[in-house]
Symmetry: C2
Subunit: 298 residues, 2 copies
């Protein structure tokens, strides 16, 4: 890539910016950012890159355009970009749900322009450029969407780009992507939000001050439940069919757990508790988490 | 305390052992442990304390007796201890659910012997003496149960003991204890087990290899779902009424979330996601978790 335009410079956008600049992956980096607070942070942190006031200026000078905004902004941005886009522009996004985004893209993106979608599996409960890190993508999976309409040439170039960022690449079609992440990411977030919500409800209902006793489990969920609300609303709405199915499976299993507990079904419950333990070993073996008790946090 | 007997020397027992010995809290420490593997670890680690083969030897020489075994062993241990217990023995346990344990204690413990129950809010997903740490209790809450039958003198001495271990003390009655921890600890564990179970079911059903994409949320739950199965079976069985109610509240809220998602109820979902964020700040302010994004693990 010669020049890169990053649209939306929050946690992910600013991490890309840091890495691109650190490893000299592009000649020039342009940033398009609407939030005043984000712009102030970028300036204060002296992140390298040219902030453009008009999308036009960034698009015309760039080969690669990366959307790092919440998915609910795609339509508006596409409509703003359309007049300046050319067929050799490589366009990608980092959104966490794909099927609904592609509906927007296919409906509003100018004809003969390709969009090749990415999903780097990384992030944090904190938001904004101040929290970005150059190594946020290091050894993390980046899913590249490969459907029948995917531009193979752009896909190849994006693969090369994400590898230079430090990611490991995996290709997947839209449907498989949205199903897998409904279980490994979207449902866990929903469950975490819901658990914290239930604790809040219980606190009100019983008039107990219980948050101070959260070290026994709740605190882990509260981290995830502190994630950006706009980003997660968009994900929940954009993958609602798969998430709905995931919720149904979850409730079915939870009722079975409840039955085991109420009937003190020793064999059935131990079977469940032992089986789930194996997943942790697998996750650590696959280097998807660190191998320290309690995340090494104490 | 002059001499202390620790019954069951796993993660908690061995952490107590380390702290008592490091800070010279007792003159002599006795350990009663059934597991061959635990005994080998204790010897290999050269933990200070005398391993006794007979409970009798430990009880007769000790002032304070601390049960750190799974709750399902209490009955057997009580029946073994009874003949050697005297009314001035201070007896406590570290079990995570109290009402059902007290039923066993009241039914099987010799008359005129007091049992004063403790619950230090700490632990880990790993088990066994090798993972114990002298600072496991440092600045953590320790709940001391105070019911109408509680021996005030023993309670006072235990308070002093747990403070010397580094814990912060809070007194609670059995009922309040079991309710609070059904929400802040027992439900979170059950939910974590159930989420990992659901991911496993989905993996089988769809024939997807999805555990490798767990960095987007699932991995956090897998840590908790790797906790000791015997300990957690006992907790689930011993607090089944409160946990059942907690499950019902959780499912009610989850169905409301599902409704919001399916109807794209922007206002309702954002309200939920913003509210839960506040709990994280509260937890950090209360020093119940570290203030580093992603637990500082990357």
């Amino acid at each position: 890539m010669k020049n890169i335009l990053i649209i939306g410079c929050g946690l992910l956008g600013s991490s890309l910016l840091r890495k691109i600049s650190k490893n000299k992956i592009a000649k020039k980096i342009f940033i398009y950012e609407k939030s005043r607070s984000h712009i102030l942070q970028i300036k204060k942190l002296k992140l390298k890159g040219t902030i453009v006031n008009k999308l036009e200026d960034g698009i015309k000078q760039s080969d690669l355009i990366i959307l790092c905004t919440p998915m609910s902004s795609y339509k508006k941005i596409i409509l703003k970009m359309n007049s300046f886009l050319k067929s050799d522009h490589i366009i990608t996004d980092v959104g966490s749900a794909k099927k609904e985004s592609f509906k927007i893209i296919n409906k509003f993106l100018k004809k003969n322009i390709s969009w090749t979608s990415s999903h780097p599996i990384t992030g944090s409960e904190v938001s904004g450029p101040r929290y970005g890190k150059h190594d946020l993508f290091e050894n993390k999976w980046c899913v590249l969407i490969k459907d029948k309409n995917t531009n193979k040439n752009h896909l190849l170039k994006l693969k090369f780009f994400w590898k230079s960022i430090g990611s490991k690449i995996v290709e997947m079609d839209t449907e498989k992507h949205d199903k897998i992440f409904s279980i490994t990411s979207h449902l866990p977030h929903l469950i975490a939000y819901n658990l914290v919500k239930s604790a809040q409800d219980f606190e009100k209902q019983e008039k107990y001050d219980l948050i101070k006793f959260s070290a026994g489990g709740l605190r882990d969920f509260s981290r995830i439940a502190a994630s950006n609300e706009i980003m997660w609303r968009d994900i929940f709405f954009n993958n609602k069919k798969n998430i709905s199915k995931a919720i149904d499976l979850f409730i079915k299993n939870l009722n079975s757990f409840k039955k085991d507990i109420n009937s003190k079904n020793n064999k059935s419950i131990l079977n469940k508790l032992v089986m789930t333990k194996k997943v942790r070993s697998k996750i650590i073996k696959l280097k998807q988490d660190i191998n320290k008790p309690d995340f090494g946090r104490n």
